[in-house]
Amino acid sequence: MHGTRILQEADRLMTVCNSCRYCEGLCAVFPAMEMRRAFSDGDLNYLANLCHACGACYTDCQFSPPHEFNVNVPKTLAVARAESYAAYAWPRAFAGAFARNGLVISLIAALSVAAFIFGFAAVNDRGVLTGIHTGPGAFYKLMPHNAMALLFGAALLYAILALVMGVRAFWRDIGEPVGMTTDAKSLLQAVRDAGELRYLDGGGVGCFNEDDHPTDRRKLYHHFTFYGFALCFAATCVGTLYHYLLAREAPYSWWDLPVVLGTLGGIGLVVGPIGLLSEKWKRDRVLVDEQAMGMDTAFILMLFLTSISGLALLLWREAAAMGPLLALHLGVVFALFITMPYGKFVHGIYRFVALVRYARERQMMVQGKAE
C-alpha cells in the first residue's frame, strides 16, 4: 500500500509497464523502472521526478486510454511529481502553499511589489519615487545598496536553506545509492542530461504536445527560459562583484557586462516563458495535470514579469518611471526568491537530483555487468 492514491496508481502503471518494456528506449524512467520489481513511495517519487513529461510513452502505448488498462504515465507521474513537491517542502507548515499555488504566488508578488512602492515613498522624501535620477548610484537614491544587498541576500539565503532541506528529504526518501555524491562521473552526466534536456525529446523525435506529431518547441522554450534565468542570475552576481570588488555602482552602461548578460537573459526570459505558456495552453489535456496548472502558470508568469520589468527598467531608467519600475522589478524578484521553495522552481532541483541518481544507478549496473 502507498501513502497516496496517486502513488497507488503510479505503482499499478509501473507494474504494467514493467511487464511490457516497449518504452525502454524513450527516456530514463523506464530503464530505471526495470531495475526494480516492486516500488516504494520513494521509488515512485524518484521516477515521477525523472519524468520530463515529453508524452512519447503515452502516444506510443498500445494500452493508453481508451484501452481498459488505462495507461497514462505522463499524467500520473505529473500528478505524483506535483504532490511530491508538497511532501518534501520545508518547513512542513508551508507545504500547503502548493495546494493553491497560483493564488499564493500572485498574492505574495502583489504584496511584495506594493511593499517596495510604499517603502520607497515612506523612507524617502516626496518626489524621490517619481524623480529623475541618472548616473552611478541612481538606483540607490531610492534604496541604499546595503539595504538592497541585505534584503535580497537574506531572501536568497532563506530560499537556499529551504530548498536544501527539501532536497534532503527527497534524497532520503528515494534512497541515495552508495557513493552518489562522490561519483564525479555521474554528477557530470546528470549536469549534461539536465543542461541539454536529453529526456524531453521523445527518444529523439521531440516532445508530444497538442497531437501525435512531435516537435522540439517545448525543449527550445525551456532552454530559452533556463539559460535566460541563468544569464540574469549571472548578471546579478557580476553586478554585486562590481560593487564590492571594483566599487563600481549601478546603473552600468548598456555595453557593460552585467547589462549585456541581463539583457540577453531578459530576452530569453521573455521568449521562453511566452513560448512555454502557449505550448501549455495548446497541450492535449489528457497529458496535463490540471491541478498543477495554477502552479505552472504562476511560475512562468513570475519569470516573465522579472524579465519584462527588468528590461523596462533598462529602457526607462533615465525617465520619471524609473522609481516605480525599480519597485516593480525588485518586488517581483523578491517574491520570486522567497517563493522559490514553494513553487514550480523546485522541479528543476528534484529532477536534477533524480538524474544524478539515475546516472549513478546506471553506472553501478554497467560496472556490475562488467564484473
Binding site: 511490457c20 516497449y22 518504452c23 528506449g25 524513450l26 502516444t59 498500445q62 488498462f69
Partner: protein
C-alpha cells in the same frame, strides 16, 4: 474529407504495418491511394500495435544489431520453425528483401532502438522498434499522411465486387455516412487474419475456441479473407494453424497484448486441471519453447493449465502483469487453483524425486534433467520445494491465423485456377501462410508485412498506371 466519388489508383484494405507499407510504397510510386482501416483511430494497425521487432537478414553488425545474420541462416531458421511448410521461392525472396527493409523502413520515419539486452536476447536477429509497435505505426501513418495518402477509420468493407479475378469496387460502410461504393484500379488486401472471429475458429477447433484468448485487436475478424476466398482466390495454409502462446488466464478476452505472456515455464512445471504434467517443460530455449505452449494448453481439458514454481525463482523471469497465486503449502496452492490437492502433491513429489543433480543455466540446454518420469523434463529441472509455492494459470493466447490467400512474388493474388489476378494484391497476415505454413519465429510477421506490403504497393501502383 476524403472524396469517395473519385476513382483511386490503389485501394488498401487494412491499417497495419503491411497496409501502410503498401500505401506508402504505392504513393511514392505516384499512385493515388485510399486506406480503409476498419478500426477506430485508437485501435488502428491491427496486431502491429502489439509487435515490437522485426527479423531481418544482414551481412554485418550495425548500430542496432549484432551480426551477421545471413540469408542462409534466416532460411534455415524458417525451415526449422515451419518444418518445411513454406514456399521456398517466396520465402527466399522475402529473406533477400528483408535486408533492404531494415533501411527502407527507417526512411519511412520508423526508428530502431539500440539493443538494450534484457530478457529478450534477440539483438542479433531482430531489430526493435523504438517505443514499440504503436510508435512504429504512428510513424508510418504520419509519413503516409504527409505523402497525401487518404485514410479513413471506422471504415468497414462489407462487400467486394470481383469479376473473373478482377477487382472492380468495394462496398464501404461507415458509422456516419452509411454505405458507399469505392472504386479503384487495384486492390491491396492487408486486412489480417481471422483470429478475433471465435465462430470461425470454432469450425476448426470446436467448442475449445470459446476458451481462447485473443492477444490482439478484436477487429481482425477475417471478413476480407472470407470474401476473397469466396470469390475465387486460391487459399493457402492450414486453417487450424495459428500462432498461439500460453498467456495468463486472467487476461482480457481481446487486446491484452504482450504483457499477458509468461516466460516462466522453464523454471517450474506445467500441470493441467487434473494436476498432471503433460509435456516436457525443458524441451527448448526461449523463444522456441514460448511459441509451442499455446497449442499444448489448447489440447488440455477446458484449455487451462498452471505453471507451478517455487519462491526461489520469482526474480528469474520477466515481471508479470498479474501476480502469481501463492500458497504456503502445495495443498493450499491447490485449493486456490481449484485443483485436487492430493493429485498436485503427488505430481510434485514424483517430479522432485526424479530430478537429477546438475548445473542450472537457463541460457543453454543445461544438464538439469529428470529420470524415470513421463513426460520427462529434459533441461532446467530443479526441485520445487521452497514455499511459498506459486502458480500462474494460463490459457491459449491466439496472435494470428495462417489461413490466407495465395500470392506470387509480386504479392499478386493467385486465383483458384492458378492464374494471377488482374489487379489484386495481398500483404501481411492475410498471406502469411505462403511463407509460414506453421510455427513461428519472433519478428517474422513484421518482416512478411513490410516486405510484401512494400512489394504489393509498388506492383499495384505499376498495375494501376498501365
Amino acid at each position: 474529407m476524403v472524396d469517395l466519388t473519385r476513382r483511386f489508383d490503389v485501394l488498401v484494405i487494412g491499417g497495419g504495418n503491411a497496409a501502410l507499407c503498401a500505401a506508402i510504397s504505392a504513393r511514392r510510386a505516384g499512385a493515388s491511394v485510399l486506406v480503409l482501416e476498419g478500426a477506430p483511430k485508437f485501435y488502428r494497425g491491427g496486431n502491429t500495435r502489439h509487435t515490437r521487432n522485426m527479423r531481418c537478414a544482414h551481412d554485418a553488425a550495425t548500430e542496432i544489431l549484432t551480426g551477421p545474420y545471413t540469408e542462409e541462416e534466416f532460411w534455415k531458421d524458417l525451415l526449422v520453425v515451419t518444418g518445411g511448410q513454406t514456399d521456398e521461392e517466396l520465402a527466399r525472396f522475402m529473406i533477400h528483401e528483408s535486408k533492404d527493409i531494415l533501411n527502407w523502413i527507417v526512411e519511412q520515419g520508423v526508428r530502431w532502438q539500440p539493443s538494450l539486452g534484457g530478457t529478450l536476447s534477440l539483438g542479433r536477429t531482430n531489430s526493435f522498434f523504438l517505443g514499440g509497435g504503436r510508435a512504429m505505426l504512428n510513424a508510418l501513418y504520419r509519413t503516409a499522411e504527409e505523402l497525401g495518402v487518404d485514410i479513413l477509420y471506422d471504415a468497414e468493407v462489407i462487400d467486394l465486387v470481383i469479376e473473373h479475378g478482377m477487382f472492380l469496387s468495394a462496398q464501404l460502410k461507415q458509422p456516419v455516412g452509411g454505405k458507399t461504393e469505392v472504386r479503384a484500379s487495384t486492390l491491396v488486401a492487408a486486412a489480417g487474419g481471422f483470429e478475433a472471429n471465435i465462430e470461425w475458429l470454432k469450425q476448426y477447433w470446436g467448442e475449445a475456441a470459446d476458451n481462447f484468448l485473443i492477444r490482439g485487436t478484436p477487429y481482425n475478424r477475417g471478413a476480407i479473407l472470407k470474401m476473397l476466398l469466396a470469390k475465387g482466390v486460391q487459399a493457402i495454409g492450414d486453417p487450424t494453424q495459428c500462432h498461439a502462446v500460453a498467456i495468463d488466464a486472467r487476461a482480457p478476452k481481446f487486446d491484452g497484448g504482450i504483457i499477458t505472456r509468461h516466460d516462466s515455464v522453464v523454471f517450474g512445471i506445467v500441470v493441467n486441471k487434473h494436476a498432471e504434467r503433460f509435456y516436457d517443460e525443458g524441451e527448448d530455449i526461449w523463444p522456441k519453447r514460448y511459441a509451442i505452449w499455446g497449442r499444448l494448453v489448447a489440447a488440455q481439458p477446458d484449455q487451462i493449465a498452471y505453471i507451478i514454481f517455487d519462491s526461489t525463482v520469482v526474480t528469474s523471469f520477466m515481471p508479470t502483469l498479474f501476480p502469481p497465486i501463492a500458497g504456503a503449502t502445495i495443498a493450499e496452492l491447490a485449493g486456490k487453483l481449484e485443483l485436487d490437492a492430493a493429485a498436485l502433491e503427488k505430481t510434485i513429489t514424483d517430479f522432485n524425486a526424479a530430478v537429477q543433480p546438475g548445473t542450472f543455466d537457463h541460457t543453454i540446454l543445461d544438464d538439469c534433467r529428470t529420470e524415470g518420469i513421463t513426460p520427462a523434463k529434459t533441461h532446467w529441472a530443479r526441485k520445487i520445494e521452497t514455499p511459498p509455492y506459486l502458480a500462474y494459470p494460463v490459457r491459449p493466447g491466439i496472435t494470428f491465423t495462417y489461413l490466407g490467400t495465395r500470392v506470387n512474388r509480386e504479392a499478386r493474388m493467385l486465383m483458384k485456377d492458378g492464374k494471377p489476378s488482374a489487379n489484386m494484391f495481398a500483404a501481411g497476415e492475410i498471406m502469411a501462410g505462403n511463407v509460414l505454413g506453421k510455427g513461428y519465429a519472433a519478428g517474422i510477421g513484421m518482416t512478411i508485412g513490410s516486405v510484401f506490403g512494400r512489394v504489393a504497393g509498388r506492383e499495384a501502383a505499376k498495375n494501376a498506371r498501365n
